[in-house]
Amino acid sequence: MKATNLNRRQFLNASARATMTAVAFPAFVPAAALGRGGAVAPSERFVMGCIGVGGQGTRGMAGGIWAPEGGFIGRPEIQVVAVCDVNAHNRENARRIVNEKYGNQDCATYHDFHELLARQDIQVLLIATGERWHPLLSLAAAQAGKDTYCEKPTSVTIQEAEALRTAIGRYGTVYQAGTQQRSSQAFRFACELVRNGYIGEVKEVIVGVGGPPAHKTCSLPAQPVPDWLDYDLWLGPPPWRPYNAAYVGSWMAYRDFSGGEMTNWGAHHFDIAQWGLGMDGSGPVEIIPPDGKEFPVLTYRYASGAHMIRDPQRLQREAGVDNGVMFTGTTGKVAVWRYALRTWPEHLAQVKLKPNEIHLHAADNHHTDFMNAVRSRGQPGANIDVACGSITVCHLGNIAYELGRPLRWDPAKEEFVNDAEANRMRFRQMRSPWRV
C-alpha cells in the first residue's frame, strides 16, 4: 500500500488555531434544527424526498393514524420536494397531494430512486416501498449522507439488516424504522413496568401476530405488464418471475418479497418483546418451531431463561385480544396492544416511575422522534441497532418454521450454532445487479 502524505499534527494544529480565532461560521444545521417555533421559511426547512408513495407511503407523507398532524408535509420544519415510485398512479397522486399542500407545482417526480438520491438538496428521506427494497434504499440513502425514516419491516433476510447496520454505522446518518409502537406511551410504559421489575422476573412473553407468508415460491401465470408500472424495478432483488397482478397486490403473501405476518406485525410486537426484555441489539438463544408435543407453538428461549411464544389464541384467552404482547413475570403480568394496556394486578397500571428507575427512550410521536434525532444527531427510538435486532427475531422464527426443527442462535456472533443449513438462510443472493 502506498504511504499517504499524512501530517496529522499539522491538521490538528491548524484546527486548534481555527478554534482560537473563533471566526464566525455557519451553524451546524438549519434554524429549524434548533426547534425554533412558529413559521419556518421554506429555505430553512429540512428538504425531504419520498420513495414509495403507495398506501403506507402516502399516509406517512401526508397523514394517517400515526401521523395525525398530517404526516411529514404537515410539519413546519419539512419541505417535501420530490416523490418517487415505480407505479405511475402512486407517483402522480403523491405529487398532487404535495403540490396542493404547498400551493405550487414544484414537486418533482421520479420513477428511478437513483435520480432522487442524486439530488444534493434532499437531506431526509421517507422510504415506504415493500421490504425487499427497504435495505437497499436505506443503504443507498446512507451512502448519500441522507437521514432516513424507513417503514418496517427492515429487511427480508438477517444479512440485509446487518449490512444496513454496517452502512448506517459507517456514514453516521440517522435511521428510524417505522415501528411506531416505540413512540407510544402505552407500549413504553408496559416495557418500563417489566424492566423495573414490577412483574418480578420475566418468565414468558406471548406475542400475538400471524405466521409466515403463505407461499414459498411463485407459480402464477404471466400477465401483461400494465403501462403504469416499471415491473423490473418493482421486482428488484428477488428471483425473476413474470408479472402477475397478485404479486403487486399481495406481495406480503410471498416469501421472496416478505416474511409475512411474522415480519409485518412481528416487526412491531416482537420488537416490543425485545424492548421489554432489555434485549435490544441482541436476541434469543434457541428457536423451536411447533412440534405438536412439548412446544405446540413457535417458542423462543432467551439466555435469561425467559420463553417467548407466538400464540395469538392464548393471548386472546388471557388478555382478550389476539394482536399484542403479554409479559408474564413471577409476581404479575402486563399486556399491551393498540391502544391499551392491562395489568395484573390492576394497580400496576397506575405506577409512576421515579427518576432513578429505568426510563426508556421517551417519544410520543415517531416522526417527531426521527426529526429530533436529525437535529441533535442522536439516536431515535427505532434506530438501526434496535431495528436490526428485532427484525432478526422475526426472521429467526421464519427460518425455524421453514426448517421444522429446533435451532440454536448465538446473538453475539449473529449466527446459528453448528448449523450450516440454518446459517444459509440468513441471506439470499440477489438478482443482478442488486446487492447490499
Partner: protein, 854 residues
C-alpha cells in the same frame, strides 16, 4: 436497471396452459413428482412444486439423515442437465440453495454463464459453503459480461473470496462502469492490503457513482483493519478519504473512522471538524461527540463549549447531555449561567440528564429567578434529576423558596418523592392557599395508610372550601389505596365516632362516599338520621355521589320517602348515574328498578330525570314506557331523546320497533340535537337493513392436521344433513351486524356453520352479500351458490352472489373457515342492483324442511 429478458417468453404460453389446481390430490411417488416438476411452467398446477417443497422440508427437519438429503439434492440437480423448463430449473436452484452441497457445484457452475439462469445458479451456489463454489465463480468471471458478470462479482464479494482480488482488480479497470462499480464493492467486502492497494489506485481517477463505490470500498478496507485492532494502519486510509474534494458523505464517514481509530486524538478530530464547511461533516462531528468513549473525551468536548458561538453551544450541550457522562457537569453548570438565553436553557435541560443533588440549588434558583422559559426548563430538569438524596434536597428547598413552593411540590409529586411526605404535611398547613392545595394533591399521591390519621387532623383544621376539597380528595385517594382487608374506611369512621363539628362531619361523609365500601355505606345511611339538617343533607349528597351500584337500593329507598323536591332531584340524578355503571343486575332487575322509579316520579322535573334513567335501558319494555310521554308537551323532548337513545342499540335485533320509534320521534320533536341523533339511527338502520341478525350456529369442526384451506371442502355434518348436529342460536352484533365466531368458538384451523331461513312472499331474484373472515361457502336451499376459500379479514359485502329466492321459506347455510386471527361472518340479501329487498322476513328458528346441502 431494467430488464425484460425473460418476460415475453412466458406470457402467452403460460396464460394458455393455466389449469385448475389439483391441490389436495394424493401425493405422487418421488420419481413421478420430479417428472411432473420438469414440465412445470408458470400458471400450471403448482402441485409438483409444493410436493417437492414437502420433500425438502422432510429432509431438513431430520438433520441427522444426511444421505436422504444428498439423494434428493442429486435427483434435483439431475433435472438441471435435462431439457426441463426454465421454471423447473429455477425452482430446483431454490431447493439446492437449501440442501445443495459441493457435489452439486459442477452442474450449477455450468449455469453461471447462462444469461437466463445465472442469477438462479448464484442463488444456489451462494448458499453452499464450499471453496469449489468460489473457484467456479472465478472461472465464470471471464466468460460472462454485463449484468450476468455483475451478479457473479456480487456473489464473489458476498463470499469474501480472497483469491478473487486480482481478477476483480481487472474488472475494476474495465470499460463497463456497472461491472467496475460491482468490483469495487466486492473488493471492499473482501478487504485486505491488496484490495486496498487496488482501490487506492482508482481513487484519483474515478468519478461519479464509480468513485463513490471505490471510496466506500476503501472505507470498508479501513474498517477491516480497525476490526483487527490495527487502527493505526487504518488511519492513512481514512485520512486520504477525509481530504477536501472527496464526496461529503465519504468525508463524513472518514471523520467517524478517524475519530474512532485514532484513540485519544479522536476528540481533537471531532472538535476541529465542528467547523468544517460541509454540513454533512459537521453533523458527523456532532455524532462523534456523542459516541467517542471516556470521561476524558467528555471533559475535552465540554471544555470547548465557551469557544463556540451560541447556536453551536446549544447543539453541543444537547450532544453532551446525550453522552450522559457527569464529567461534563462543571462546564454545563457554567453554561447554565450564560448570558445567552438559548444556551442557558439548553444547559438547564442538560442538567436534568447529567446532574444530581448537587445541582438542585442552581436549578431552583433558575426556576425562581429566570425567564418563563428558563424556569420551565429548570423545573423539568428537577423532575428528572437522578442521584441519591435528590428528593430530600428538593424538599429542603421548600423552606427557602416561598414563591416557588407550589411548583416544587408538584415536582416532588411527579418524582414520586415518598420521603417528602413529612415536609408536605407541614406545607399542607401553609397560609398560602395554592401551596396548601398542591400539598394535599401531592399527599394524595404519596402518603400511605399510616399518614391517614395525620391527614384527618389536617382536614379538621382547614379554613377554606377549596382547601377542604383538596384535603378530602387526599384522604379519599390514600384510603382507596388501602386494601379491603386493611379496612380502608376505619380511620375515617373512627374520626366520625369522635363526634367532630358539623363541617368536619360533612367532610368525613364525603370522604366515605369516595371510599365507597360497605362499612362506609352503613355509616352514611346512619347519618341520614343525624340531628343536624346540614349533615343529613351531606349524607343524601354522599349517597347520590356513591361510586358504585351498591348504593342503588339505598338511594331508591330515600327517594321514596323524601319530601324535599331538591333532594329528590339530587337522588334521581344519582340513580341515573348508578344505573349507568356496570353491575351484576339481571335485565329483569334493572327493568324493575326503572319501573319503580317511574312510579315514584312526581312533577315534570322528576319525570324528566326518570326519562333519562330509562334512556340507559336498551329494552323494548323501556321504549313502551317512554312512548306515551312523546304526547306530553311538558316532557316531549326529554322523552324523544330517551326514545332515540333506547332505539339506537335496539336497532340490530328489533329493527322494525326501532324504525317505528324513530319515525314517531321525527314527527313530534322540534329539538335539533334530538332530530340529528334520530336521523343518525335511521341512517344506520338503512345502512344495516336486510342483514341477517338471528342465526343458528354449529361447530367448531376440524380434522387433525388439516388447515383451514384443506377443510374448506370437507363435508361436516351440517352439510350432509346429519340430524345429530347440535345447533344453537347466535345473534349478529354491531353495525353492520356481524357474527363474532372468534368470541363464540375461538381457535384456529377449523370451520363453523351458520344457518337461517328466509321467507319470500314471491319468487324473486336477489343478491346475497357476504363478508367473511376467513373463507366462506354458501348454500341456498341445499345448492352451493358460492365458494371462496379465502384467507382474509371481513368486509361487509366483499362477496356478492346472484341468487333466486323461491316463494315461501328458503334455507341459507354458510360455512365459515378459520385459519388464524379473527373469525367472523355477515350476510344480507338485497335486490340484484343493491337496493332494499321487499317481501322477505327472516326466522332462524324456522322448522327444518329443506333437503341437505349438495
Amino acid at each position: 436497471m431494467k430488464t425484460t429478458r425473460n418476460h415475453l417468453r412466458f406470457l402467452l404460453p403460460a396464460v394458455a396452459c393455466l389449469i385448475v389446481s389439483a391441490f389436495g390430490a394424493p401425493a405422487a411417488g418421488e420419481d413421478e413428482v420430479l417428472t411432473q416438476l420438469r414440465q412445470f411452467s408458470y400458471g400450471r398446477d403448482p402441485a409438483p412444486l409444493t410436493n417437492v417443497e414437502r420433500m425438502v422440508a422432510t429432509v431438513t427437519a431430520n438433520a441427522s439423515d444426511l444421505s436422504a438429503r444428498q439423494k434428493l439434492a442429486e435427483s434435483l440437480a439431475a433435472i438441471l442437465e435435462t431439457d426441463a423448463s426454465y421454471e423447473a430449473k429455477q425452482f430446483v436452484c431454490r431447493q439446492l440453495a437449501i440442501i445443495g452441497t459441493a457435489r452439486q457445484v459442477p452442474v450449477l457452475a455450468k449455469l453461471l454463464t447462462d444469461d437466463q439462469l445465472s442469477d438462479m445458479a448464484r442463488y444456489a451456489l451462494g448458499a453452499i459453503p464450499d471453496r469449489a463454489v468460489d473457484a467456479a465463480l472465478r472461472r465464470a468471471l471471464d466468460r460472462t459480461r454485463g449484468p450476468t458478470q455483475v451478479g457473479i462479482i456480487n456473489t464473489l464479494g458476498f463470499r469474501r473470496d480472497r483469491a478473487a482480488v486480482r481478477p476483480l482488480g481487472r474488472s475494476l479497470n474495465g470499460a463497463d462502469r456497472a461491472v467496475a462499480t460491482a468490483a469495487a464493492a466486492a473488493l471492499g467486502r473482501i478487504g485486505g492490503a491488496e484490495a486496498a492497494r487496488l482501490l487506492q489506485r482508482m481513487l484519483p481517477t474515478t468519478t461519479g457513482d464509480l468513485h463513490l463505490a471505490v471510496a466506500e470500498a476503501y472505507l470498508a478496507c479501513a474498517e477491516g483493519l480497525v476490526a483487527q485492532n490495527e487502527g493505526e494502519r487504518a488511519m492513512p486510509l481514512y485520512w486520504e478519504l477525509f481530504q477536501k474534494g472527496q464526496p461529503a458523505s465519504i468525508r463524513a464517514a472518514a471523520l467517524r473512522g478517524l475519530a474512532t481509530a485514532s484513540g485519544a486524538e479522536g476528540v481533537r478530530f471531532a472538535l476541529s471538524s465542528l467547523r468544517d464547511a460541509e454540513p454533512l461533516v459537521k453533523r458527523a462531528a456532532i455524532g462523534c461527540v456523542q459516541r467517542l468513549p471516556g470521561h476524558e473525551a467528555t471533559r475535552q468536548f465540554a471544555a470547548e463549549l465557551p469557544t463556540l458561538p451560541p447556536p453551536d453551544q446549544v447543539v453541543l450541550l444537547g450532544a453532551l447531555a446525550n453522552r450522559g457522562d457527569a464529567a461534563a457537569l462543571p462546564a454545563v453548570t457554567a453554561a447554565a449561567k450564560s448570558a445567552e438565553a438559548p444556551v442557558k436553557i439548553a444547559a438547564l435541560e442538560a442538567l436534568g440528564k447529567l446532574g444530581d443533588a448537587s445541582v438542585v440549588n442552581l436549578l431552583v434558583s433558575s426556576a425562581a429567578g429566570g425567564s418563563p422559559a428558563e424556569s420551565q426548563a429548570a423545573l423539568n430538569s428537577l423532575r428528572t434529576l437522578g442521584g441519591e438524596g435528590t428528593d430530600e434536597a428538593i424538599a429542603r428547598k421548600l423552606e427557602d423558596a416561598p414563591g416557588l413552593r407550589a411548583a416544587l411540590i408538584r415536582v416532588l409529586a411527579d418524582r414520586q418523592a415518598v420521603s417528602a411526605v413529612p415536609a408536605l404535611t407541614r406545607t399542607a398547613a401553609d397560609p398560602d392557599e395554592r401551596v396548601s392545595i398542591e400539598s394535599f394533591k401531592a399527599l394524595g399521591q404519596l402518603a400511605d395508610a399510616a399518614s391517614v390519621p395525620e391527614l384527618l387532623k389536617l382536614l379538621g383544621r382547614v379554613q377554606t372550601d377549596a382547601v377542604r376539597e383538596a384535603a378530602e380528595a387526599a384522604v379519599t385517594e390514600v384510603s382507596r389505596r388501602i386494601t379491603e382487608e386493611a379496612r380502608p374506611a376505619e380511620p375515617v369512621l373512627a374520626a366520625l365516632r369522635e363526634g367532630p363539628p358539623e363541617p368536619v362531619r360533612c367532610s368525613l361523609l364525603r370522604v366515605l362516599a369516595g371510599i365507597g365500601n360497605a362499612p362506609a355505606l352503613t355509616a352514611v345511611q346512619s347519618a341520614l338520621q343525624d340531628p343536624s339538617g346540614v349533615v343529613r343533607a351531606a349524607a343524601v349528597r354522599a349517597l347520590a355521589d356513591w361510586p358504585n351500584p351498591a348504593a342503588t337500593q339505598a338511594l331508591l329507598d330515600v327517594f321514596r320517602s323524601s319530601q324535599d323536591p331538591t333532594q329528590r332531584i339530587l337522588l334521581l340524578r344519582g340513580l341515573v348515574r348508578l344505573m349507568g355503571l356496570e353491575s351484576g343486575r339481571t335485565p329483569a332487575q334493572t327493568w324493575d328498578l326503572c319501573r319503580q322509579v317511574m312510579q315514584q316520579a312526581r312533577g315534570t322535573d322528576e319525570v324528566r330525570q326518570a326519562l333519562s334513567l330509562l334512556a340507559t335501558v336498551s329494552d323494548p319494555q323501556a321504549l313502551a314506557l317512554v312512548t306515551p310521554y312523546l304526547k306530553d308537551e311538558s316532557v316531549r323532548e326529554e322523552a324523544a331523546m330517551a326514545a332515540v337513545k333506547i332505539a339506537g342499540p335496539l336497532a340490530a335485533v328489533h329493527g322494525d320497533l326501532a324504525r317505528q320509534t324513530i319515525e314517531t320521534v321525527l314527527a313530534v320533536s322540534q329539538n335539533a340535537t334530538v332530530r340529528q341523533q334520530a336521523n343518525t339511527v335511521l341512517e344506520s338502520l338503512q345502512k344495516n337493513e336486510d342483514f341477517v341478525t338471528a342465526w343458528q350456529l354449529a361447530g367448531p369442526f376440524l380434522e387433525n392436521g388439516k388447515s383451514a384451506k384443506e377443510i374448506f371442502d370437507v363435508p361436516f355434518s351440517p352439510e350432509t344433513g346429519d340430524k345429530s348436529t347440535v345447533w344453537r342460536p347466535i345473534t349478529a352484533q354491531g353495525a353492520p351486524p356481524i357474527v363474532d365466531l372468534m368470541s363464540a368458538l375461538g381457535g384456529t384451523q377449523r370451520a363453523a356453520y351458520l344457518r337461517t331461513w328466509i321467507h319470500s312472499d314471491q319468487t324473486q331474484p336477489a343478491r346475497l352479500e357476504l363478508g367473511s373472515d376467513d373463507g366462506v361457502k354458501a348454500w341456498l336451499n341445499g345448492a352451493v351458490v358460492h365458494a371462496n376459500n379465502a384467507d382474509r379479514g371481513l368486509v361487509a359485502g366483499q362477496d356478492k352472489v346472484p341468487v333466486t329466492l323461491q316463494a315461501g321459506w328458503n334455507r341459507l347455510l354458510l360455512k365459515i373457515t378459520q385459519g388464524e386471527g379473527g373469525w367472523a361472518a355477515c350476510a344480507r340479501l338485497r335486490t340484484p342492483d343493491g337496493h332494499s329487498l321487499a317481501h322477505v322476513r327472516f326466522d332462524s328458528a324456522h322448522q327444518e324442511t329443506a333437503p341437505p346441502a349438495r
